[in-house]
Amino acid sequence: MNNIISTRKKVSKSKLNMWLWGWFMVAPTMIGLIFLNIIPIFQTIYLSLFKSGDFGRGNIFVGFDNYIRMFGDAQVWHAVANTLLYTLLVVPFSVVFSIIIAVLLNGKIKGKSFFRTIYFIPMMAAPAAVTMVWRWLYNPQFGLINYVLNRLGLDSVKWTTDPQVALIAISIIGIWSIVGYNMVLLLASLKEIPRDYYEASEIDGASKMQQFFVVTLPLLTPTLFFVSVTTIIQSMQVFDVIYMMIDVANPAYENTVSLVYLFYNNSFKYMDKGYGSSIVVLLLVIIMIITYIQLKAEKKWVNYM
């Protein structure tokens, strides 16, 4: 009897020790996040129930009016569709490309660090430079892409004003700018795979291809999970490129406007912060649903050692 009590006490003591360590270690991050981010998020959700006054004063409570207006606003639904389509275009392509590049750069290739640096460059280029280059590439009259198309005997494409293609043009920029990010992450985790694993599989007589699918890919899954969660979230929040390339006056605006762009216009341009906030809440709900599904699926395909 005594014995049992004492062991139980012992267990709970080491448990408590672990609890304390856990709380202590997450404390700085959690306190920071709560003040810097979580409180503003709840303020935003709260604000979505108001017709916002100027400069944070004179907000009038309107209940769910902003949401009712949002559900009847065709532009919001365009933006939902555009945002999802953009994500669907960017995430699979960029992830596949970056896996290929990371694996190649992890192998026996000359000039590795040269290539790594080059693939990372798009992430560093200033937005002004990026937009300028792509505007030139996409220019309908004398852009490089149309020049090549014409040479091949194809017709010119109005890359940024044709409603049918503008979103694809934007997605290409999105893929181009995110490949380096994914590549760095995947490379980092490729480097963490112990060599012994490969040696063992070599002894078993596995080919390079088999090695990739049997050793590399399964061990990459934790990072792949991270990459897919974060690229989906990032893609769902697409704003900069569209904002810089597509004006409200652009005929392709309806077909490219994203949820964050709509939120930005309403909150910061039209100063309708209440309505802008309700758009953010819609975006949040969509992202949460997607992330929840991913977390549920995590157990099915992600292998932790």
């Binding site: 306190i31 100027d54 006056a249 605006y253 910061f268 039209y270």
Partner: protein, 438 residues
């Protein structure tokens, strides 16, 4: 709020001690700790702008056009020399971030002391009491005389009979044309006698060899607004209704869109593509405002081939014009000093200086002529000539909202997917809806 930062710092330092102690690196940990502790206060100390001599007042002066910053600095230096004890700190932030900064400042009660105000935003700031009422100061000032400024601009910054800004400058829209192409086509340059027909015929004659005669983008201020008012139409009526369904307005829009539909102008929507088209010699003529002057002068191609003239006329002559003003924060800690500075900027002396330095077209009577001589590359006198018949850029309390709605409605007409009349009616409906919500 202070507690929070202290708490974070505390946690920061604590976690360091805890961790290094655990690791048992007793030798290095004290040094590490000291480093971190000295670094933490350092981040707070550096660059703080509180280190002024006692008695010295530093005014924050916020502007959005860095092209003007250099000249404004010269003026601020002069002001500082004449007013010992007052320092002017010029803060330059680009247009859209400027308004975000001001918004945050107004919400948090930390507006700059003196800042630029614009017709799009004056209502929000004035009606919410964010600006200082300058009636008394202007009334007792011997230097600022509002009757010396264009009344249209003075009125923009007057809300419920209170003056919330002293006019700074104005801008008008001019017709830029490619002299070289005009010479080659043996056409005479545009001047004040030109009518819409002259413009159209010239555009037609110039459209060849891959060059478009005219640039008619989907743009209001540097585009169709000018034609609407030349035709006697309007964008917004005195009783705050949309003018897009006015037959005169529709007629002007039809004339304007015709350039695109007849192939005399490229189909341009993006703001950035307008100047690009001009700079690449794709178009022989285009409408651009006086604020582009610095940029256009710096471009060798434009400086060599282009010049500027007044806009053509139809029922009458018209050019959209607009002007900025200097406002003072309602809660500035230095109301007297701030007014002194605004008074200087709005005085004949300050306005003349601004014009001479080529900073902007000073709004003060007669000062604009001084500005003309600051640029010899182009015939910039055209911009000043147009003030007599200038029409203030249409505005209301929520200008940006209905401007965007109008763009959304009109673009189908530009693309030829809808008649101009139908699109204009849609624009009117959307605009009226937005005006009613004001």
């Amino acid at each position: 709020m202070k507690n929070k930062v202290l708490l974070l710092m505390l946690v920061f330092v604590l976690s360091l001690t805890a961790l290094t102690a655990c690791a048992g690196n007793k030798n290095t940990s004290p040094a590490n700790n000291e480093n971190k502790q000295t670094e933490a206060p350092k981040q707070t100390g550096k660059d703080s702008d509180t280190s002024n001599n006692k008695g010295d007042v530093t005014l924050r002066y916020a502007v959005w056009d860095s092209n003007q910053a250099k000249g404004l600095r010269v003026m601020a230096d002069e002001f500082e020399a004449a007013n010992p004890g007052i320092k002017i700190n010029i803060e330059v932030i680009g247009w859209s971030d400027y308004w975000t900064m001001l918004e945050a400042g107004a919400t948090g009660g930390s507006l700059p002391d003196v800042f630029w105000m614009h017709s799009n935003e004056i209502y929000r700031y004035a009606s919410n009491g964010m600006l200082m009422n300058l009636n008394d100061q202007i009334g007792s000032s011997s230097k600022v005389d509002l009757s010396k400024f264009p009344q249209g601009i003075v009125q923009i910054y007057n809300f419920e009979d209170k003056q919330y800004g002293v006019p700074k400058d104005f801008d008008t829209i001019g017709l830029w044309y490619n002299k070289t192409l005009f010479d080659a086509a043996k056409l005479s340059y545009p001047d004040e006698t030109w009518t819409w027909d002259d413009l159209y015929n010239a555009a037609k004659a110039l459209t060849k060899d891959g060059v478009y005669g005219m640039l008619a983008p989907l743009h209001n201020q540097e585009g169709y607004y000018n034609f609407v008012y030349q035709n006697g139409g309007t964008i917004i009526t005195d009783d705050k209704k949309s003018g897009y369904d006015d037959p005169k307005t529709i007629e002007a829009l039809e004339y304007y869109v015709k350039f695109v539909r007849d192939g005399l102008s490229p189909e341009v929507y993006a703001d950035s593509e307008r100047a690009e088209a001009l700079q690449n010699g794709v178009v022989a003529m285009g409408l651009f405002g006086s604020w582009n002057l610095a940029g256009f002068t710096a471009n060798e191609f434009l400086a060599k081939n282009f010049d500027v003239a007044v806009l053509p006329k139809q029922a009458k002559q018209a050019s959209i014009y607009n002007g900025l003003a200097h406002s003072i924060a309602h809660n500035t800690e230095h109301p007297e000093e701030a007014w002194k500075f605004v008074e200087y900027l709005g005085s004949k002396e300050g306005q003349d200086k601004q014009a001479q330095l080529g900073v902007a077209i000073s709004a003060y009577e007669g000062a604009a002529d001084l500005w003309v001589s600051s640029n010899t590359t182009f015939n910039v006198k055209a911009f000043v000539d147009m003030v007599k018949y200038g029409v203030i850029r249409p505005y209301s309390n929520t200008t940006i909202v209905w401007e965007d709605k109008a763009y959304e409605a009109l673009k189908s007409a530009f693309g030829g997917k809808e008649s101009v009349e139908a699109a204009a009616k849609k624009a009117a409906a959307a605009m009226n809806q937005s005006l009613e919500a004001e």
